[in-house]
């Protein structure tokens, strides 16, 4: 669907790679540029087979960089930077999340580009943005969780706040970068001009937290961590994680109807008729622990899946807290062909997720495995840029590629 688009990525770890992956998964050509011999740091992150580190067998790298063309280029050299210029001349979008210092060294700042490539869309992703008082601060996912108000709302009330799992801030920054870049492409049709997109991961998370926290702050609750439940049970009850026979479930009732369905599903215990337990809003605000203990013996007799079935029957919101195996074995996913089998030349055969959206006017592309370091050098520099085999050998010997 986006097969005419050409994206160039000088990215590392998650945010920029996931951003360009979203384009690659819809057919765009993504050229991922890595430093010779070193490559993207996610190659060193893992997980690895038998925990044996190998830059060609890192699970995270393999997942994030499928469908991309992989070349190496030494941007520390002037010749490398000259070649980069040739690559950028034909690019529609450039995506990077390397530091401002690194961009300066490699002459990859937007100001280095603007006169040379006036119709290029430059998408920058950094923890705090490239303009502002924190632009030179180092920051990772953990710091974004901290500044955005995310961690404030996760964890036990008397203990340290928690991070989100799996570098979710990085993914959200990448997703917003992709959406903004797509929007800039449409804008370019009207104006003919490229533009500079400055995505700050902490801005992205802070805007999410901002939206969400309004529900608490303006309704007598606090946006603050409260352990396994939402603060004040979200103004109703229950709203949290409960232990059951073989694991945990998440139960959320927001309406009287939800609550009545829940009470019926657990066999309408006698205490449910007690005047003290008629107003879920009151329970959630004043004595949720008490009702949690009343629920405990009932829930501990039932498994996750039994509770899930009861919830469907009695129409109240509940889901098991699935682990990754249970999550991916969900039959709905194979119905929607969510996984594609991909054979990676060194990594083995895997099932990789497809994008979560189906387009009616588009055929599913089969997933091409993530590139080995410099795998497409010959194809790209040779066929595409027209370098002769002699030149290619020379560039390799001088460690330009």
């Amino acid at each position: 669907m986006l097969s005419k688009l050409r994206i160039v990525e000088v990215g590392d770890f998650i945010s920029a790679p996931f951003c360009t992956k979203m384009f690659a998964d819809l057919g765009a050509e993504v050229i991922k540029i890595e430093e010779p011999g070193i490559g993207d740091s996610s190659r060193r992150y893992g997980p690895f087979f038998d925990d044996r580190p190998d830059k060609e067998r890192s699970g995270l790298f393999i997942y994030l960089n499928s469908n991309k063309i992989g070349v190496t280029l030494n941007l520390n050299t002037s010749q490398g930077r000259e070649i980069m210029g040739r690559i950028l001349k034909k690019a529609d979008i450039f995506v990077t999340n390397i530091s401002l210092d690194q961009r300066k060294k490699w002459k990859l700042r937007y100001n280095d580009f603007i006169s040379l490539y006036p119709s290029l869309i430059y998408c920058s992703i950094t923890p705090y943005g490239t303009e502002g008082p924190y632009k030179d601060y180092k920051g990772f996912d953990l710091q974004c969780c901290a500044i955005s108000g995310t961690s404030w709302a996760i964890g036990d009330p008397e203990r340290e706040p928690l991070q989100m799992p799996l570098f979710l801030c990085d993914y959200q920054a990448g997703i917003n970068g992709a959406a903004a870049s797509m929007s800039a492409l449409i804008g370019k049709r009207k104006s003919g001009k490229g533009e500079y997109i400055d995505i700050s991961a902490s801005d992205v998370m802070a805007s999410y937290v901002g939206s969400n926290s309004i529900l608490y702050i303006f309704y007598g609750l606090q946006w603050r961590r409260a352990g396994k439940r939402a603060y004040g049970s979200g103004g109703f009850y229950p709203y949290g994680i409960f232990r059951c026979k073989d694991g945990y479930v998440c139960i959320i009732c927001r309406t009287k109807k939800d609550w009545e369905g829940f009470i019926k599903s657990i066999g309408h215990p006698d205490w449910a008729d007690d005047l003290r337990y008629q107003e879920p809003a009151q329970i959630g605000r004043d004595y949720p622990d008490e009702v949690d203990s009343l629920l405990e013996p009932i829930l501990m007799k039932l498994t996750k899946e039994e509770l899930f079935e009861l919830a469907k029957k009695w129409q109240f919101p509940l889901a098991p807290l699935r682990n990754i195996q249970e999550a991916i074995e969900e039959p709905q996913l194979s119905f929607r062909n969510f996984f594609s089998k991909v054979k990676h030349p060194k990594g083995g055969s895997f099932f990789l997720p497809n994008p979560p959206y189906h387009f009616s006017n588009r055929n599913r592309i089969s997933i091409r495995p993530a590139p080995l370091l410099g795998e497409h050098n010959n194809m790209f520099y040779g066929d595409r840029l027209g370098f002769s085999p002699v030149k290619l050998r020379e560039l390799r010997e001088r460690e330009i590629i």
Partner: protein, 408 residues
């Protein structure tokens, strides 16, 4: 400056966070977004009762006062329309003929029951772009799955990954991350479809699953399971490779600092920043591998250092030495943070009934086509006259009848 979606008309059937957010992003990118509700079928976010400010309930019509609703529906037009009535359905189809995009996040099958799904609508407008976001997709054994954001993230495997080491899972119950995650991915897909239509003239239908939108964030555990048959569990504030990495207490009540030391070079800087104490100069800690093996001890020592400092001072000292460090802020503290102020995270607007309020800008800082907020959310049915009389050309008499019959 012309925004990218100026000239596009969207019929926004979206509800709550996901649906609201998709609509407001389109509106702030320049599209005319018409939010469709009916007095018998209001967006749930209008139904939370009267909001309170400093403990005092705001006076007025509760369905118009919700600040959560305002933030999610800024810059939209509002019409009322009963999609369940035959006349209402017909009116909707007339509107589709004059629109470009339809967005919705009802439970799967809702619009099919009303004969207003994509297959019906594309008869009227062949190049229509329509997106349906549902918890599990429009079809399949689980397509009837319903639930709020934390339900979806529990089902997808995310919530089990949040908790203190050695404890049962804590989860992220306050934070419905699945909703904005879905909306942001949906916007990408939708704008890609618009781009495609501008190229080819063809519209299309996008069927998106929120559960899958969560699962694409789970690449690491998906690969760990396939490679090593290992099921990842929650790990507190640890990190596979950074050490120290965690949230440490500072002076005062509930003050915390988030510190990440990502390399051996950073460790040397960190030791310098904290005054080169003897424990940090131990040869054992020179390598990352050894630091990771001794993380309990290192965490304890780091916490001893941070506990003696105000968080602002600790951050300053570490940042000076190029260490990743940041205060754990309360959401209220966002307003005074210099970086958020500079980058205009917040936008002050005035709502006719609620008064002054603060909305959240779309976090895309762009040199030419930055999305912009102009107004707060519309009142219910505020644009009925404009949409029905001007856009559809309905006569005054017919308009009155539609109101009488509660079609609108």
């Amino acid at each position: 400056m012309t925004l990218p979606l100026t000239g596009y008309r969207v019929l926004d059937l979206g509800r709550v966070w996901t649906g609201g957010m998709i609509g407001y992003i389109l509106a702030n990118l320049g599209a005319e977004v018409i939010k469709v509700e009916h007095i018998d079928n209001l967006d749930n976010t209008r139904l939370r009762g009267k909001p309170t400010i400093n403990g005092i309930k705001v006076d007025g019509n509760a369905i118009e006062l919700g600040p959560y609703f305002h933030n999610l529906n800024r810059d939209k037009l509002s019409i009322t329309l009963n999609l369940k009535s035959p006349k209402g359905s017909e009116l909707f189809k007339s509107l589709v003929k004059k629109s470009d995009i339809v967005t919705e996040n009802f439970a799967a099958g809702t619009l099919t029951k009303l004969n207003l799904n994509y297959n019906s609508l594309k008869e009227i407008k062949p190049d229509l772009i329509m997106i349906s976001v549902s918890p599990a997709g429009q079809e399949g054994p689980r397509s009837n799955f319903k639930g709020y954001a934390p339900i979806i993230s529990s089902f997808s495997g995310l919530e089990l990954l949040v908790g203190y080491v050695g404890d049962s899972p804590t989860g992220m119950m306050n934070f419905g991350i699945s909703d904005p995650n879905s909306a942001a991915q949906a916007i990408f897909a939708l704008i890609a479809a618009i781009y495609y239509r501008e190229e080819t003239g063809k519209g299309q239908y996008i069927d998106m699953s929120q559960m899958e939108a969560c699962l694409v964030l789970l690449g690491e555990p998906i690969m760990e399971f396939q490679m090593n048959n290992r099921i990842m569990t929650h790990k507190g504030n640890y990190n596979r490779i950074h050490c120290p990495h965690g949230i440490y207490p500072c002076k005062g009540k509930d003050k915390w600092i988030a510190i990440s030391v990502e390399s051996d070079q950073a460790w040397r800087n960190f030791s310098r920043a904290i005054g080169n104490p003897s424990w940090a100069s131990q040869k054992t800690f020179v390598s990352q591998k050894r630091r990771l093996e001794n993380r309990h001890f290192i965490d304890k020592k780091v916490a001893e250092w941070t506990s003696g400092l105000l968080v602002e001072d600790a951050v300053k000292m570490l940042v000076k030495h190029d260490i990743a460090a940041q205060a754990v802020l309360r959401v209220e503290e966002q307003f005074n943070d210099p970086n958020f102020r500079y980058r205009k995270l917040h936008k002050k607007v005035s709502h006719p009934l609620f008064g002054k309020e603060v909305l959240f800008n779309i976090p895309w800082r762009m040199s030419n086509t930055r999305p912009a907020i102009h107004k707060s959310a519309p009142l219910l049915g505020e644009h009925n006259e404009y949409v029905y009389k001007e856009v559809l050309g309905i006569s005054d008499k017919e308009f009155k009848n539609l109101k009488k019959d509660r079609v609108i």
